[in-house]
């Protein structure tokens, strides 16, 4: 059972001190021209170099290394020229959890979390006979004989039922894409920056009904790195430290392939558990969140997160209020997210939390942001992180 005291002991003990990303729009333009400029390790290495420069630590002070899921840990260490005391492999949220635990136990003091992906120039298939992820999520490929593959199609099935039950319309869903595109327009490092209107959205072709082109994430190349260390070490760096205040997690895998938790429950029980833990550990609630980042391979993730984590009872009203976009009360995916910013599988969302809390987000800065929350719900694996800065 969750022990609130043990979890609370971890609160505010580790800090993100450095972040780095690659040049998403420039690399996207290169890819569109057919150029192969880097591979996954190259993007990862560029981001890592930038994260080191950002925090002022030198490479030999990094004693822990976590490689993102699209990289092999051994090769990453070789490419970066690093020998470390502790290494691991993880997706975005799990990487942050593992880094916090490693630092807390003392197996590492300064951990680099490094991600790189050449999914566009490398031609990663997200649907079809060889759909990516079928080895970890059986449902991504199991129904191939009936032509059902891809995470997008599974979320389209969810959206079909969710819209019918909640009364949410396709236009309501379009508000997610519009709000994030508006933020992307304020972010020079977002891939899709041209304004998007509701007419544009509705004119977008269906991929898997009811999800349209603009409900789907981008597929672009890039890298992301974060440097995490103890709060004491962070203080000595004389850089604004972003503290990890809360961790919530819940894995619901029963009947995952049958799609029952997806289609009958919209993963709400898992969201509820993760929400309870993250808010209890941080000592905060949804109303304390200044900036929200939601893992958005598809627009539908956003209303699911808003309802599942208790930001609202009825997402339609909130989506249509304008509160999720620039100038709104609950800004969501302020970099443009996966839909319009860059599809770095949740890694970029951590960086955006840091930039907002450091007040380095330029035109898209949320004034006075002190608390940022990340919510990820991929196929019933729900995780949330809350970051904060000392006032």
């Amino acid at each position: 059972m969750p022990d609130p005291d043990r979890l609370a002991a971890l609160r505010d003990t580790v800090a993100i001190v450095g972040v780095g990303e690659t040049d998403y729009p420039a690399d996207y333009a290169r890819a569109r021209r057919g150029e192969r400029y880097q591979d996954a390790y190259g993007y990862a290495a560029i981001a890592f170099r930038r994260a080191l420069n950002d925090c002022g630590l030198s490479r030999n002070q990094i004693d822990g290394l976590i490689a993102g899921p699209s990289l092999a840990g051994e090769r990453l260490g070789e490419v970066l020229g690093m020998d470390v005391r502790w290494a691991d492999q993880a997706d975005a949220v799990q990487a942050m959890l593992k880094a916090a635990m490693a630092i807390h136990t003392g197996v590492a003091e300064c951990v680099a979390l490094v991600y790189g992906n050449d999914q566009r120039t490398g031609g990663t298939a997200y649907g079809g006979p060889n759909a990516m992820g079928g080895d970890r999520h059986l449902a991504y490929t199991y129904y191939a004989p009936w032509g059902l593959t891809s995470q997008g199609a599974l979320y389209a099935l969810l959206a079909n039922r969710y819209l019918a039950i909640t009364g949410l319309t396709e236009r309501d869903l379009g508000q997610v894409a519009l709000a994030q595109r508006a933020f992307a327009g304020l972010n020079p490092n977002a891939v899709m920056r041209e304004p998007l209107t509701m007419d544009d959205y509705l004119a977008g072709r269906y991929i898997c009904e009811p999800l349209r082109l603009y409900d789907y994430c981008l597929v672009n190349d890039g890298g992301v790195a974060l440097i995490v260390t103890t709060v004491e070490r962070a203080r000595a760096l004389n850089r604004p430290a972003v503290l990890l205040r809360g961790i919530g997690r819940s894995d619901h895998n029963r009947e995952a392939t049958s799609l029952r938790p997806r289609l009958e429950q919209f993963y709400r029980p898992a969201q509820r558990q993760a929400a309870e833990q993250v808010y209890a550990m941080a000592g905060l609630g949804p109303s304390d969140v200044d900036v929200l980042q939601v893992y958005d391979s598809f627009s539908i993730h956003v209303p699911l997160a808003l309802e599942g984590f208790g930001f609202c009872a009825d997402a339609a009203k909130l989506l249509n209020s304008g509160d999720l976009g620039p100038g709104g009360r609950l800004p969501v995916n302020t970099s443009g997210g996966h839909l319009s910013g860059s599809y770095m599988q949740g890694w970029g969302h951590q960086v955006e939390c840091v930039r907002q809390l450091r007040e380095e987000a330029g035109d898209r800065q949320i004034p006075g942001a002190r608390t940022a929350q990340y919510i990820s719900d991929v196929a019933g694996k729900v995780t949330s992180l809350i970051y904060g800065v000392r006032p």
Binding site: Y142, A144, G147, R161, I207
Partner: protein, 130 residues
Amino acid sequence: MNLFDEPYWQYAEAGELRLQQCVACASFRYPPAPICPECLTEEHDWAALSGQGSLLAWTVFHRQYFPDIPVPYLVGAVVTAEGPILIGNIVGLPAADLTHGMPMSAVFPPSTGSRRLCQWTSRSSLEHRT
């Protein structure tokens, strides 16, 4: 294909819808699995399902992912009368006629590809045809 899938497809080839059923607790397992997730018993039968169910959700594919499956095509999730959720193509009626919860029946059209597939149609459209 997984180790335990083969019998499912052999029955489908014969036009039968059968799923693994636990001999200890009568729970169904789908997709086929080595052990019952309810009681962790290995022993199972391949029990025939009634072929009746209700429509839980559907999507129309507009993007072509498979060279031999032309778009648009309909994929639905059906809750069978016995409980398990099965995926299939919805045949015999257009997406515009679908409603959540509508009664569905399993059909096994002659194979057009490498396997004979369990598909679903509305119970009423099946009754009109027969």
